[in-house]
């Protein structure tokens, strides 16, 4: 388990992480989402032992990671901009990682190379963006870490390769209880694969919940009110995140338990109420809108 308690990190005067408290369970796939500059990569780098927090605690299975080679050998970060040694090939990078990660699995590396159809002896500098991401991913997998962090790993991959990545991750989590933390702006991908999601905004962790629970807390309702209803009345009765009205047709995004919402709506005698499932992306957008991070606010 990865545990962060009151984690704070500054870059000069900028507070990148502000009192983050999060617990990431073992053998799960944790999705880390957030606005640009929210602190996702910073959090991952602290967990990987690359950056040191200014205050707070970060532990992996109750042991700090910073300057602990044993703990570090169990954590692997595939960064958003993967780095390879100059003039390196996949083979030389495999040798590089094999030198430092005792669990590096040569067989797994070769299987993954075949799966992704990547040439092993060609210079990585000649790879496309997507191929580089695949290379970074398979090297990370071959290191057989207990905790794998993927920063924007789906970016640049074609749909088939995305499926391959999802399959590899799912299988590995199931087989050896690896824990995966994925950061991505492609919330549809995360929606399909993640068990738990954390939403970061301006260095603060807004939510860290089971995905189903998160979705279960936010509802999209379409209702028709025959009698007049004002926006204020609805906002007073419900925790409204967003609201649209077209004549008598209301579209409401509300937070709360569904039965409580229905009960609150009943007082206004709606002619009809329909609930629609929300995707993770929609949940994210509405959550950000509440925080003022909305396209209509940013660009008017």
């Amino acid at each position: 388990m990865i545990l962060c308690q009151e984690l704070t990190k500054y870059f000069d005067e900028t507070k990148a992480l502000d009192g983050i408290c999060v617990s990431i369970q073992k053998a799960s796939i944790y999705g880390l989402v957030g606005s640009n500059g929210a602190g996702k990569s910073t959090l991952m780098r602290i967990i990987a032992g690359i950056l040191q927090q200014d205050s707070g605690l970060v532990t992996v299975d109750d042991m700090p990671v910073w300057e602990d080679p044993l703990q570090k050998s169990r954590v692997f970060l595939v960064a958003d901009e993967p780095y390879f040694v100059p003039q390196a090939t996949l083979e030389s990078m495999a040798a590089f990682y094999g030198r430092f990660y005792p669990a590096f699995d040569r067989g797994l590396y070769e299987r993954l190379c075949d799966a992704f159809s990547l040439p092993r002896r060609k210079r990585i500098a000649t790879f496309s963006k997507g191929m580089k991401r695949q290379a970074a991913f398979l090297l990370g997998m071959a290191a057989k870490p207990d905790y794998l962090m993927l920063d924007e790993c789906f970016d640049g991959l074609d749909p088939v390769k995305r499926q391959v990545v999802r399959k590899v991750l799912s299988d590995t989590v199931a087989e050896r209880e690896m824990t995966v933390i994925i950061s991505s702006h492609n919330l549809r991908e995360l929606d399909e694969i993640c068990d738990t999601v954390g939403i970061l905004h301006k260095g603060k962790l807004l939510y860290s919940k089971d995905l189903d629970d998160l979705k279960g807390e936010v509802h999209k309702l379409q209702a028709v009110f025959l009698s007049p209803v004002t926006e204020e009345e609805l906002k007073n009765s419900l925790e409204v995140m967003a609201m649209e009205r077209h004549g008598k047709f209301w579209t409401l995004i509300v937070r709360g338990d569904m039965s409580s919402v229905e009960e609150a709506l009943a007082q206004y005698e709606p002619a009809a109420v329909e609930a629609y499932p929300l995707t993770l992306e929609e949940v994210f957008l509405y959550e950000m809108e509440v925080k003022g991070y909305d396209a209509n606010v940013i660009f008017q």
């Binding site: 050998s73 692997f76 960064a79 590089f96 430092f100 990660y101 870490p145 207990d146």
Partner: protein, 735 residues
């Protein structure tokens, strides 16, 4: 779940080390090839030629410079390659995420780089050096240069590593490495030179004293000494360089541990290096300007401050990538100017922190004095004196100089120094010196350079110009002491005993005569016999032989070896010749190098009268000034001779052939009139003039009033044994 791994399989220095060697394999190969080609490949034909032509002369490794140069270049570049990852955010994510501690990561790369750097250099350089030494009879020096340069390489390498750890970009790393190598020694040089401008007795070079000690920490110092010096260096410099290497690597490790990964791409990971480097550049530039513009007085200070502030401003703006911190920059600049001003102010007030007044009065092991007046070297610093009496004499003179500091410093502005001085010993007040407007090279004032070696190994050096000779009487005693004379000939004696005269191909022998220096080359055997004569004369000088008129040298002799390659491995030998040095003088005559003095001594006084021109006006007692015409072909030259009968005030200290003037170059005639003397003019031939001059000496000091011969404004003291003869010939001055 992956099984827990024991920590013994992780975090191995060897893994990092091997990784480093593996990653830079191509660099290693290329470097080794360059060294191999510039070393053994080019040496092979030289060896072949040496073996083929029956061990003829060995020319050495012609590409030795390239061999060392390639290694030195890589010393600076390799850390840029090894540690470039810490300036790249993506690379840092990989390296600092690895299950390796910072220490292992640091040392693995440092040691890997050192191996790449030194292994081929030593593996190829040592055998080449041995071969060169063997073929060149041990005089080649390449083997020792390999070791010294290897040390210099490590020093450059380690300082570049340290700079890389401190900086966040490649640009800053290169710039501040350059600053560290250049600005540091230049700062020492600039501060030292500027202090020397106003410090009485300043004699500090970047090769000695505190400046030398500080400069010896710089890698460039060792390399310059080895490359441009005599190919070797002292143990102290080696220790200091080792300290530089150790400190750079050790503190580099400490800083690397603390370095924040997010500092990659920022100008500096640790700002102190910037402040140190920028202030070094600024102070060097400012102080350097003060030396260039020292004629501008107060304006110089303003210009220097502006230049210094400007340099700091530019560097700080580059560091901040803009003008975002102008206020902080301005404050630091102002602080720097104030600090420098306070430093120099304090230095001025305290006599450069006590430097000016310091005279080592105890704990002196030896002393070497270079004492020059005019073109005469009365004491040479080649001869180091350890006798307590001589050390005491030197200290006495030194204390007298310091006591009269103000008068000596003001000498350029005041006429006559005697009244201002505190003489060393009463009785020498009678020595009067002319106004001398030079820097001590003329009119008898001397330059005294003293170097003390203390019992604790320190050296203390001072240099004083324009030192009136009235203060230097004890130095005469030192020059005439048994110890000094022994030192003069001991080198010769050792050279003879060691057979050094056989090692030179020939010797250059120079003799100072009245018509100038005469020089010629002589064979080893001839030089050896001359040296024998010189030693015999030096050994025969009595212990109580002190400064008196008879000790005036009549000539000076120099002997130094010429090797075929032009290099001299032995010092030259010099000796002043006195009338008593019969062995040397006879040797000169026998070999046809007679000193002028000898020729004239045997001349008869009657020749003067018989050779006198018919048109010559007879000298009368009332006509002390002599004009003469010399007929030379169809041209006639006119000269003036005056002969004075000196009184107490007219006794001179003579300095080579260009002597004091009585009251100045052309003013002696008016001085005659003031003193009530009458002019005397007589026509004599050049031969007669030569005879007259043979009775006088250009090297003379007298405690008694003597007659003075003035020819064309040049003054000569008449030897005491010829005073009567001068009067008999009518060359007298009367009132």
């Amino acid at each position: 779940m992956t099984p827990m791994l024991s920590s013994s399989k992780l975090n191995r220095l060897g893994s990092v080390y091997r990784d480093c060697l593996s990653r830079y394999k191509s660099v290693f190969i290329l470097y080794a090839v360059v060294l191999f080609v510039s070393g053994p490949v080019f040496l092979f034909p030289e060896v072949l030629e040496w073996m083929t032509y029956e061990r003829r002369y060995f020319h050495g490794l012609s590409t030795e410079v390239l061999f060392h140069f390639a290694a030195l270049i890589l010393s600076c570049l390799l850390p840029l390659l090894l540690f470039t990852y810490i300036n790249n955010r993506q690379a840092v994510d990989v390296y600092h995420a690895m299950p390796v501690t910072r220490d292992k990561l640091y040392w693995g790369n440092v040691l890997g780089g050192a191996t790449i750097l030194l292994a081929p250099y030593l593996a190829l350089g040592i055998p080449c050096g041995i071969i060169c030494e063997v073929l060149d009879s041990g005089t080649n020096g390449m083997l020792s240069r390999v070791f010294w340069i290897a040390l210099g390489m490590l020093a450059l390498y380690s300082t570049m590593v340290f700079v890389m750890v401190n900086c966040g970009t490649l640009f800053e790393s290169i710039v501040y490495f350059g600053i560290a190598q250049l600005a540091y020694p230049l700062l020492i040089l600039a501060v030292m030179s500027s202090l020397g401008e106003f410090t009485f007795g300043w004699e500090e070079s970047i090769e000695s004293g505190v400046p030398g000690f500080l400069a010896a920490f710089a890698p460039g110092y060792l390399l310059v000494n080895v490359v441009f010096g005599n190919g070797t260096t002292s143990w102290q410099v080696i220790v200091q360089q080792a300290a530089t290497i150790t400190a750079a690597l050790f503190f580099g490790m400490i800083l690397y541990r603390r370095r924040r990964s997010e500092s990659a791409g920022s100008a500096f990971a640790f700002r102190p290096l910037f402040y140190v480097g920028a202030l070094m550049v600024s102070i060097t530039a400012g102080v350097g300007c003060s030396l260039i513009f020292d004629d501008y007085g107060g304006l110089m200070i303003i210009i220097s401050a502006i230049v210094g502030v400007l340099c700091y401003f530019i560097l700080d703006t580059v560091r901040n990538r803009g003008l975002s911190r102008v206020k902080e920059t301005a404050l630091v600049s102002l602080g720097g100017v104030v600090a420098v001003a306070m430093f120099y102010g304090l230095a001025h007030l305290t006599g450069t922190f006590g430097y000016e007044d310091h005279v080592p009065s105890a704990g002196v092991k030896s002393v070497a004095v270079q004492w020059n007046a005019g073109s005469e070297n009365y004491l040479s610093s080649s001869f180091v004196m350890t006798d307590e009496a001589n050390i005491a004499r030197v200290i006495e003179v030194h204390e007298a100089i310091v006591e009269n500091k103000k008068a000596i410093e003001d000498f350029y502005d005041t006429m006559g120094l005697d009244d201002e001085l505190t003489p060393v010993e009463d009785g020498y007040i009678r020595y009067r010196f002319d106004d001398g407007s030079g820097d001590g090279w003329d009119y008898g004032n001397g330059r005294v350079t003293v170097k003390y070696t203390m019992l604790d190994g320190r050296t203390v050096s001072r240099r004083y110009n324009n030192i009136p000779l009235t203060l230097t009487q004890p130095l005469y005693q030192a020059a005439a002491s048994g110890e000094y004379r022994n030192l003069q000939w001991i080198g010769l004696k050792e050279a003879l005993e060691n057979g050094d005269f056989d090692k030179a191909d020939c010797w250059n022998f120079s003799l100072d005569r009245s018509d100038g220096w005469f020089g010629t080359d002589i064979e080893n055997e001839v030089a050896a016999s001359l040296a024998q004569a010189m030693i015999a004369d030096l050994e025969s000088r009595p212990d109580d032989w002190n400064v008196h008129p008879e000790s005036t040298p009549i000539s000076e002799l120099e002997l130094y070896p010429i090797m075929e390659t032009g290099r001299q491995n032995m010092s030259n030998y010099s000796m002043k010749i006195y009338e008593r040095d019969r062995n040397t003088i006879v040797w000169m005559e026998q070999h046809g190098y007679a000193i002028d003095y000898e020729q004239y001594i045997s001349s008869a006084g009657q020749d003067i009268i018989s050779a006198r021109n018919e048109t010559t006006t007879a000298v009368t007692e009332t006509k002390p000034t002599i004009d003469y015409e010399i007929a030379y072909g169809t041209e006639v030259y006119e000269h003036t001779i005056a002969v004075l009968r000196a009184d107490d005030r007219d006794t001179f200290w003579k300095d080579c052939k260009e002597l004091f003037y009585f009251g100045g170059y052309d003013s002696w005639q008016s001085d005659f009139e003031k003193m009530g003397y009458n002019e005397c003019r007589v026509m004599i031939s050049e031969r007669e003039l030569d005879v007259l001059r043979s009775k006088a000496s250009s090297h003379y000091i007298s405690e008694e009033p003597r007659d003075v011969l003035i020819v064309d404004g040049n003054s000569f003291l008449i030897y005491p044994e010829y005073s009567a003869w001068m009067h008999e010939q009518g060359y007298t001055l009367t009132k």
